[in-house]
């Protein structure tokens, strides 16, 4: 087949109108190098051109927010002179091609975001989404991704303390690999990605630059997999963009950067991620309102014959850019020598130029030698901040009414509720056992419970008795039915998880994984989801301090279900004793805390539940988000647990929120981990067993009377469900199964599905 060659700008992913924008900015034709720079910087991944308009609607302010969205990571003031930095990002497309390295480099990238703020990384979480495990390729992806996170995270020396694991056919050819990182810093060490000070140097730290990842993240993440078989259809041209991570380099880079910051040797610092050097130099220059000369010959290369555009856009891993004053160069070099990392001056901060209308413009110039030929010359801010902003067409899916009408809540519960329950239980321990979750001696509650809870301590931090809690949550089943309510309820579930370990939510970060933004239905989902998140965050008083958008998650033309992932960060003011966890004891009373019935049309909605989804039922109406109920219930539970964390003795022995799998799963999980059975006398049928809506907690108490009195005082409804004891899980005459069987099925489910057991 022969056809006219594609014009260069289109090959670089730029539209004709974007080319016109570039001509307007430059008042001339761009040369090829300039076009390549715009191509990566204006890609969806780097510029958020389809989503920025909507993200503005998220609330991001609160008194304790030190750094909001827009920097490497968001930072809150946690008290005691300690800031906590948090960020989440996707590494979906690279992981679909090379699961080990895709996931590994995802961990590396998110850590750089966090330590670029001056924070020592203290924790990682990994929300993962795969297709069904009856397909060998999906099993290969799961094993590869998990070992990649394990291999990189453990070696780089940051504990991975939780995540998520979701299987659904919609992720078959397009798995989602999101990674969240949290770090902490003395607030005095807070660093920003700004270049300032004329004559200052931009120093490239870390790995040498190779051809790996040329246009990798930015191009891959901005294009869908077109063929039937997803990644396999990627043409060969895109394959060399696979990057290999080096956790050992990253470990030394972390130590060196934190030491540089401690010694006050840097003016500004930024990580190199998507779009590599051009992104870091243009963004720091734009933020500082200065120009920057970059010498491509000063960049240490791993391969011979690299072109300037390759050097500027390479996404080689484990690199940082530090802005320093010339007199500190020697001291900087000494620190880098100690940690055996490269440090090369690749840029000079230069004066902005004054244009004809009197405004000043910082120019990003790519040069062949600092005094050599100018290869590209463009306004730094035009690359970094002035990408086109699209209000892409949005359209409510035409079949949505039919989806809502098709409610599984009224389905006859054909089959055996015991079997239904056993099928819903999956212990993700096979995953998190592969992660070091204990490093730094901070982990009070590790993976496997509702939220992770860690002491707020680390090398170089002021002493503190506080703890921080993190949970990642998502619910594509809900969001497919109703992205607005679904996202709001997802946020609520995250806050509920924090309450289980005594924390109150202080900040949220999100990773919006959606399909092709050129599909109006996808843009509608995104917009609705953002509105739902904004509503929930306003109601629950949680600022959004960062996020990431991953679009073009599709395969063979089919978009994934909308998958907004939220990461919730909470603080526990005094952590001297572990929260109760799920450790109920023989004879305890079991109490349901919160409204027993959902707000909305259905008291026990099964829409979007795991129970319904397993039956292929994907429609119906969700519970609605009832702010008042949620706020009071969350506050009560978190206060109860926080007092135990602070060392008070109390009657509460176990706390677990009701989430995936409903009340039946929550009770079964507690029975499975303790080996102690439970009897619940009366329940409203299978709906109450399996309905999913946040705002309910299972609490075990050794003094039901006292506990109920406190709940009533707090205005929170409670229902006495039954008692702990015996060797069977007996729920409302519908379920009666041996604890041992529950435990064994839950323990083995994942390994059996992966065909490892």
């Amino acid at each position: 087949m022969s056809s006219a060659p594609e014009p260069l700008h289109r090959a670089l992913g730029l539209t004709d109108s974007e080319l016109d924008d570039i001509r307007r900015v430059l008042s001339r034709e761009p040369n090829h190098l300039e076009l390549a720079l715009y191509g990566v910087m204006w890609s969806e991944h780097c510029s958020y051109k389809s989503s920025r308009l909507h993200l503005k609607r998220l609330p991001s302010k609160a008194v304790h927010v030190l750094v909001g969205p827009g920097e490497g990571a968001g930072v809150i003031d946690a008290g005691d002179g300690i800031g906590v930095a948090i960020r989440i990002e996707s590494h979906n497309h690279p992981s679909a091609i090379e699961p080990y390295q895709g996931a590994a480099t995802g961990v590396g990238g998110i850590l750089r975001d966090v330590f670029s703020m001056g924070a020592r990384p203290l924790a990682v979480m990994d929300p993962l989404f795969f297709g069904n495990l009856d397909d060998a390729r999906n099993r290969w992806l799961v094993e590869g991704v998990v070992s990649g996170i394990s291999g990189y995270g453990n070696s780089v020396g940051v504990p991975t303390i939780g995540g998520e694991l979701t299987f659904d056919q919609c992720y078959g050819a397009n798995p989602l690999v999101n990674v969240l990182a949290v770090g902490a810093l003395p607030t005095s060490r807070l660093a920003l990605a700004v270049a300032s000070g004329l004559g200052n140097f931009a120093v490239l730290l870390g790995s040498s630059t190779g051809r790996d990842g040329i246009g990798g993240v930015s191009v891959l993440a901005s294009a869908g997999f077109s063929g039937e078989d997803g990644a396999a259809s990627l043409d060969d041209a895109k394959r060399p963009s696979v990057q290999v991570g080096d956790p050992y380099e990253e470990k030394r880079l972390i130590e060196a950067c934190l030491e540089l910051l401690d010694l006050g040797l840097v003016v500004g610092i930024q990580d190199l991620g998507g779009a590599g050097l051009i992104c870091a130099t243009s963004e720091t220059a734009a933020k500082g309102g200065v120009g920057m000369d970059v010498d491509v010959t000063a960049v240490p290369l791993r391969e011979a014959g690299m072109q300037p555009y390759e050097i500027m856009t390479s996404e080689s891993q484990e690199r940082m850019l530090a802005i320093i004053t010339p007199e500190n160069l020697e001291a900087v070099t000494a620190v880098c020598d100690k940690w055996e990392i490269r440090a090369n001056v690749v840029g000079h901060v230069v004066e902005p130029v004054t244009s004809s209308d009197g405004t000043t413009v910082g120019l990003l110039r790519v040069r062949n030698g600092f005094d050599g030929e100018i290869l590209a010359e463009v306004p730094a801010s035009s690359l970094a901040d002035e990408a086109p902003l699209y209000d892409r067409p949005r359209q409510r899916p035409s079949d949505l009414d039919a989806v809502h009408a098709d409610d599984p809540t009224d389905d006859e519960p054909v089959g055996d509720a015991n079997a239904d329950l056993l099928d819903l239980l999956v212990d993700p321990a096979w995953v998190y056992r592969q992660y070091d979750s204990q490093l730094f001696l901070n982990t009070v509650v590790g993976p496997g419970r509702d939220a992770a809870l860690l002491r707020l301590a680390g090398p170089g931090l002021p002493a503190s008795e506080r703890g921080f809690a993190i949970s990642t949550d998502s619910n594509p089943r809900w969001c497919a039915i109703d992205p607005r309510q679904g996202t709001a309820l997802t946020v609520a579930e995250g806050v509920a998880n924090l309450a289980c370990v005594g924390a109150s939510a202080k900040a949220l970060v999100n990773c919006l994984n959606f399909g092709n933004p050129e599909h109006p239905e996808v843009m509608w989902q995104l917009s609705e989801s953002v509105d739902g998140m904004a509503m929930a965050c306003d109601a629950l008083a949680v600022p959004v301090i960062g996020g990431n958008v991953s679009l073009y998650n599709e395969s063979g033309g089919r978009d994934i279900d909308p998958t907004p992932v939220v990461g919730l960060l909470g603080i526990v003011d005094s952590l001297v004793s572990a929260p109760p966890g799920w450790n109920w004891r023989e004879g305890d009373a079991v109490v349901l805390v919160g409204h027993r019935e959902a707000a909305g049309a259905r008291p026990f909605p099964l829409a979007g539940s795991r129970w319904a989804t397993r039956r292929g039922r994907r429609g119906g109406q969700l519970a609605s988000f009832d702010a008042a109920r949620l706020v009071s219930t969350f506050a009560f539970v978190s206060r109860e647990v926080a007092s135990i964390c602070a060392g008070a003795s109390g009657d509460v022995t176990a706390v677990h929120d009701v989430s995936g799998g409903g009340l039946a799963a929550a009770l079964a999980e507690m029975a499975a981990v303790t080996g102690l059975g439970v009897s619940v006398a009366r329940l409203e049928g299978h709906g109450e067993l399996f309905a999913e809506f946040p705002g309910r907690f299972v609490v075990a108490t050794s003094d039901a009377e006292a506990f109920v009195a406190r709940a009533i005082d707090a205005g929170v409804p409670v229902t006495l469900l039954g008692n702990v004891g015996g060797s069977r899980v007996r729920l409302g005459g519908l379920i009666d199964v041996a604890v041992d069987q529950v435990g064994a099925r839950r323990r083995d489910a994942l390994e059996v599905a992966l065909e490892l057991a």
């Binding site: 790995s207 080689s316 891993q317």
Partner: protein, 82 residues
């Protein structure tokens, strides 16, 4: 017939090899000079049942591509052991 096969899995050219690079950096301190371009790979040896050498090599190659390497970043070379 039983054939003894050797598979060499190496990173494709251009793909970063942190292990090789780390070993190379460490060598001078150990007193080894003049060593360059260190690349680390994997080696597998197994016996395979096949009708003839050709089909032994073919199944070994398919096994190597599917299980022992990821062709996106690695090459697998298969040969019979002498």
């Amino acid at each position: 017939m039983n054939y003894s096969v050797i598979v060499e899995v190496t990173l494709r050219p251009g793909i970063a090899d942190p292990e090789g690079a780390t070993i190379e950096r460490a060598l001078p301190a150990l007193g080894f000079s003049g060593v360059r371009a260190v690349r680390a790979g994997k080696l597998f040896r197994f016996d395979i049942e096949a009708l003839d050498a050709e089909s032994a090599l073919a199944s070994a190659q398919s096994l190597s591509d599917r299980l022992l390497s990821n062709p996106v970043i690695e090459d697998a070379a298969v040969r019979l052991e002498e």
